[in-house]
Chain length 136, copies 4
Amino acid sequence: MEGFNFSTEVSVRFAETDAQGIAHHASFVVWLEVARVAYLAEHAGGYLSIRAEGIEALTTEVQLAYRQAAYFDDRLRIWTRCVDLRGARFRYEYAIERGSELIAEGSTSHATVDAISRQPTRIPAWFVEAVAKAES
Amino acid sequence: MEGFNFSTEVSVRFAETDAQGIAHHASFVVWLEVARVAYLAEHAGGYLSIRAEGIEALTTEVQLAYRQAAYFDDRLRIWTRCVDLRGARFRYEYAIERGSELIAEGSTSHATVDAISRQPTRIPAWFVEAVAKAES
Amino acid sequence: MEGFNFSTEVSVRFAETDAQGIAHHASFVVWLEVARVAYLAEHAGGYLSIRAEGIEALTTEVQLAYRQAAYFDDRLRIWTRCVDLRGARFRYEYAIERGSELIAEGSTSHATVDAISRQPTRIPAWFVEAVAKAES
Amino acid sequence: MEGFNFSTEVSVRFAETDAQGIAHHASFVVWLEVARVAYLAEHAGGYLSIRAEGIEALTTEVQLAYRQAAYFDDRLRIWTRCVDLRGARFRYEYAIERGSELIAEGSTSHATVDAISRQPTRIPAWFVEAVAKAES
């Protein structure tokens, strides 16, 4: 998808559907996290490499716009990019497709904190560089 | 809380926490739904009374800003109001407190559709009136 | 219910339903945990009082038999008793009712471990006594 | 694994962990379902081919024994076999491994019902044959 270099896939689990017969809207929030984990694995040594530095990335905002319902067993592609890295903050943007059909768009904002003190701590330089390379 | 007439409470379940030791951010999306269901039960005969008319309310947007972490067994109060009812669309706004501390703020947007055809269908007049009364 | 001294209630959340239109069977596992937490709050100073001693209670077995489907917004009563406390192990047994109708029965087994070393550690005497009193 | 012809893999999602720092025990119930869906896709035209006949497979029992904790991002292999098909009932048995280490074992029991009447209905012959072939 235009503007995205990375994507990963999920299949809608039966447990993720609801009595409307569609994927529950909270399931998408979990899929965005799955996509971030896959992005980090691809580009920055994995989420565990950040935790290994004693840093936690907290989620400070979630925004999702649902365009089409998703159904059990649908194969969804989650396009993911990391943007706006500054100090102790960064964002991800997402587009979810089923085939060529746009299912949802969203973004999440994150803050890096020291795992012990829970105080804001700058994003490691290697992470900023890894993202710059991934998004170039 | 200023500007809200309705609230309901949830306790953070252990299953809703994550390995950061806090309530997972997707759990909040489920709690907003719990709050909507409680709001409808209080003011509009319950969600089932809408479904009984052959109408489904789809969630079209979710937005959440997390201010403070929530922890296992925290008792959270979810302030809820229904706003901007027009045609086949309406929104909810939320503020989540632990005691007097603001934990999160958010909103969800919804569209009413015919349960069978999935086509947009106007919000029933009795629902608009029930909300107007609740929010007055 | 015969043989049970304690119960707590949950309402089926919409997020807990699935595309069969019923409460997803994994939701029940979460409800059993909610019931254990309520049991401990009532009888043993709460789950946090166990964690405060540096002890974690791990779940080592889950068994559930589903008798009737549960539906969105159903109010379920979870009867709960703690049994077979020995050394570093104990069990809970459960019966879930909707009104007077049996919905599910189950049990969970648990082991107490040191929170740091993850080695088995005896159930504290005060906990054994609190349960004995609760179940007498 | 001895006695199993089929397996599928899941990675532990961050949302599936809890404040004990491990995969929450209810997550395993969802993974068993993921494994059943993969099994059916491989051997019996997929779960949707059963639903297409107007039959729902209900879960009537779940049993899980947890041997070792699983952690965020662990890659787990779920060995799955379908057994004891009789009339309107069948069972699955599972073993979950991380590498060569046994993490959990379990089983689920299921009943086939007519999707409309919810009355028990025999397992279709083609399904019994597909399973017999898969397990031979």
